[in-house]
Each structure stands twice: as structure tokens, then as C-alpha cells.
């Protein structure tokens, strides 16, 4: 006679076995068994996945290269635009700094009227030191007006048209500025040269000159306003046989990088030529 286990007993036994296995697994007694069983499965799974990914990459990479190239081009174009913007902003920043410096200079001397102008060209001859500015008689610029920057004296207006003017720099060979040496408390004549070097002349032999002495315009001769920075004394040449000693001056203004200037509009030079005694025949 076959003994038949009731169905609910079978279920209950199965449940107990499952719970027992789960209990053993949770307690860690089945770790080695599980590891031994699962490790080959995981290895196989890893192998299948890597092969699948290789096939997937093989099929999809050409499309990705095209899209990456497109994206690269877009980014390169964007980078070029941004670089161009950076250059523009740097240029605007340097222009703004220059204008702020000129504005500061103008504010420090409220008694003067200034006309700001940009330097647009230089004299074609390398022997001459002249610059061309973009403001002329239409803007109130007249012959002889002094030209300065925040760094110091630049020169004076030499020729004017309606929309432009030519400025003779103090470094020009025909330029002469009456100056005053601040520490030595003496006057001298500053003259330019064909190479743009500045030389102090007409300094008496008994005057003691010091390197680094500040050179300011004296206002004598009424061609330039007084007390405008011209430069700094660099070296002195003194010979016993000479009537005067001479000195080299480092200009305060960097004439090679001159971009914007201020024309002093309310300074009118005085022509003292008629006051000079006529030569006796």
C-alpha cells in the first residue's frame, strides 16, 4: 500500500527546506558553496558581456566618430569665437585703461582744457619724429598747442588740417624745450635728435647734476606750459674744455607706444620772435 503524503505536508516541507537554506545562506554557512557555484557563472557572464560590447562598439564606433568630429568642429569654432572675444575685450580693456589714465591726468589739472585724440600715423621719414592725430581744426586744434599724455610732455602741434593734425615730438631733431631740473634747481635747454635721443644743453659747468633728477618743462619761451614732466636725467657729460656741460635724458613718455594724446586747447603759445633784437648789418 502506497503511503501518500498530503499535499500540504509537501509544501510545508519544501518551505522548511527553503527557509533552512536561506537561514544557512544568511548565516554565512553557504558562502563557499555559493562562491563555487556562482564564480564560473560570473566569468561566463563577463565573457559574454565583453564580447557583446566589442561587437556593439564595432558596429557603432563609425557613427560616433562622425558625431565626435562634428562636435569637435563645433567646439573648435566656439573656441575660436571665444578667443576672438577675449582679444577684443583685452583691446577694449587696454583702451579703457589708457583713457582712464588720460582722464585722471586731466582731472588733476582742471584749469586746462583738453582735446583727446588718437595717434593714427607717423611721419614717413625715419629722420623725423612726428605723429599724426585724428583731430584737427574742426575740433578746435590750432598750430603750436602743446600735446601731453598722463606720462608727460609729448610735443606740440606743427600742422593742422580740418580733420587731422601733425605733432612734432620733443624727440625730433628740430624740437627744443626749455626745461627745469627739479633737484638741481637749474634751467636748461632740451633738444631732440635724428635718433630720438634727448639731450640737455646750456647747463653751466658749476651746476652739480645728479642721475635720476626729474626734468620738467619750465614754461620759458612760452611754447610749452610749465611743470609738465619731461623725463629723468640718465647720464652727465662734463668736460673742462667745454663752456657748458650736457646730459642725456630718458623721456617719461614711451614714444614708440604712443596711442592717445591730450592737446591742451587753452594754451596759446606766444610768438616772442619780434622781441628778439634784429641783427645789426
Amino acid at each position: 500500500m502506497k503511503i501518500r503524503t498530503p499535499r500540504n505536508w509537501q509544501t510545508g516541507l519544501l518551505l522548511l527546506v527553503v527557509i533552512g537554506i536561506l537561514f544557512l545562506a544568511a548565516s554565512g554557512y553557504l558562502g563557499s558553496v555559493v562562491r563555487t557555484t556562482l564564480d564560473p557563472l560570473v566569468s561566463v557572464q563577463r565573457w559574454i558581456t565583453s564580447r557583446y560590447l566589442a561587437v556593439y562598439d564595432f558596429l557603432t564606433v563609425p557613427r560616433d566618430v562622425a558625431s565626435l568630429r562634428q562636435r569637435n568642429l563645433e567646439l573648435e569654432s566656439q573656441a575660436a569665437q571665444l578667443q576672438s572675444q577675449v582679444v577684443q575685450l583685452q583691446q577694449q580693456l587696454s583702451e579703457a585703461q589708457l583713457l582712464y589714465a588720460l582722464l585722471d591726468f586731466a582731472r588733476q589739472r582742471p584749469d586746462n582744457e583738453y582735446i583727446a585724440a588718437a595717434v593714427v600715423g607717423r611721419d614717413p621719414s625715419p629722420f623725423l619724429h612726428y605723429v599724426i592725430i585724428d583731430h584737427g581744426s574742426d575740433d578746435g586744434i590750432r598750430h603750436g598747442m602743446p600735446v601731453v599724455t598722463d606720462q608727460g610732455l609729448v610735443g606740440r602741434i606743427d600742422a593742422v588740417t580740418a580733420g587731422a593734425a601733425r605733432v612734432q615730438l620733443i624727440t625730433d631733431t628740430n624740437a627744443a624745450v626749455n626745461v627745469h631740473l627739479k633737484n638741481s634747481q637749474t634751467d636748461a635747454l632740451l633738444s631732440g635728435s635724428i635718433t630720438g635721443d634727448l639731450t640737455l644743453e646750456m647747463i653751466a659747468q658749476d651746476v652739480v647734476l645728479q642721475q635720476g633728477d626729474l626734468v620738467l618743462s619750465s614754461g620759458l619761451g612760452a611754447n610749452y606750459p610749465a611743470d609738465v614732466m619731461v623725463g629723468q636725467l640718465v647720464s652727465v657729460r662734463k668736460r673742462e674744455t667745454d663752456l657748458f656741460q650736457t646730459a642725456s635724458v630718458q623721456p617719461a613718455v614711451d614714444f614708440t607706444a604712443l596711442r592717445a594724446v591730450l592737446v591742451i586747447a587753452n594754451f596759446r603759445p606766444v610768438d616772442i620772435e619780434p622781441l628778439n633784437p634784429a641783427p645789426v648789418p
Binding site: 621719414s125 625715419p126 629722420f127 635718433t195
Partner: protein, 166 residues
């Protein structure tokens, strides 16, 4: 057409000269692109407006420069005349003529400038003028001569196209 085109080209060259080339310094010398361009144009055998270019360039430079107007204009006209003369004599060696005219033209303009400054009462060291200004200017003009020569050969081909043989 060849006369009309001279105006914008000479104007552009003039603006390049005072805006860019006058700032390019080797010691104290600067290149004279106007002079080299006038020479290159005048040395071309097909060109009929060499004198026009020389006069226009001389007038523009004379107007902008602080040198006496007449001296600059005379200098440019003389150099153009010399280039036209040389073009007939050494037409088989255009490069040699270009370099020779550039060298002599630069020295001629330097001489005119020195004379003008001396008459104006300026005193300067002649040795300094040669070593610091004239020689560097000659060198830069000679360096510019070759590219400008070839540019103006192509330009002359465009302005005066060769007639096709039938």
C-alpha cells in the same frame, strides 16, 4: 582704367606706410613701402602710368611729412625717372634693376632729407645717420623689394593683359 586704379592703390599704400610701416623699426630706420612700390611699378615695361604713380606718391608723402613738400616730390619724381631710364637699359635683368633702383632711390631720399635738415639748421652726426638710419632703411627696403616686385608684376598683368595671338 590704368590711371583711375592708381588713385586707390597709391592711397592704400600711403595709409599702410604711415600707419604700419613707419612703426616697423630696425635700429632707427623704417621701410619706405611707397618708394619701393613706385620703383616696382615704374620698372615694369608694360606700365604707362609710372610717372603718375611717382607724382602722386611724392605729393602724398610730401603732404604728410614734415619735410619740405617740393623736396619730397622732386625726390620721388627723380627716382621714377631713374627707374624708367634703367628699365630701358637693363630690361633683360629686371631683378637687378629693381635692387639697384631701390638701393639708389633709398640713398637719394636719405640725401634729400639730410640736405633739407641741414638747410633747416639741424645739426646731427653724419656717421650716426648712416649707421642708425640709412643702412637699416636700405636693408629693409631691399628686403621688401623682391615681394613687391613680384606683386606688381602680377598687378601689371591684371591691369595690362596680354593680347591673345590669333
Amino acid at each position: 582704367m590704368d590711371k583711375l586704379i592708381a588713385v586707390p592703390i597709391v592711397l592704400v599704400l600711403f595709409m599702410l606706410q604711415i600707419g604700419i610701416f613707419s612703426n616697423l623699426r630696425l635700429l632707427h630706420g623704417t621701410p619706405d613701402v611707397m618708394l619701393v612700390a613706385v620703383i616696382a611699378w615704374a620698372l615694369n615695361d608694360r606700365v604707362k602710368t609710372g610717372w603718375l604713380w611717382g607724382i602722386m606718391a611724392g605729393m602724398l608723402v610730401g603732404y604728410a611729412s614734415a619735410l619740405p613738400f617740393v623736396a619730397v616730390l622732386a625726390g620721388y619724381v627723380a627716382i621714377t625717372g631713374f627707374a624708367r631710364f634703367l628699365q630701358r637699359r637693363v630690361w633683360q635683368a629686371p631683378l637687378l634693376a629693381m635692387f639697384m633702383t631701390t638701393l639708389l632711390g633709398t640713398l637719394m631720399m636719405a640725401g634729400i632729407t639730410i640736405l633739407s635738415l641741414s638747410f633747416g639748421g639741424s645739426s646731427f652726426s653724419f656717421q650716426t645717420a648712416i649707421s642708425q638710419i640709412i643702412l637699416p632703411t636700405v636693408l629693409m627696403n631691399l628686403m621688401l623689394a623682391l615681394p613687391i616686385h613680384f606683386i606688381f608684376i602680377d598687378f601689371a598683368d591684371w591691369v595690362y593683359p596680354l593680347e591673345e595671338e590669333r
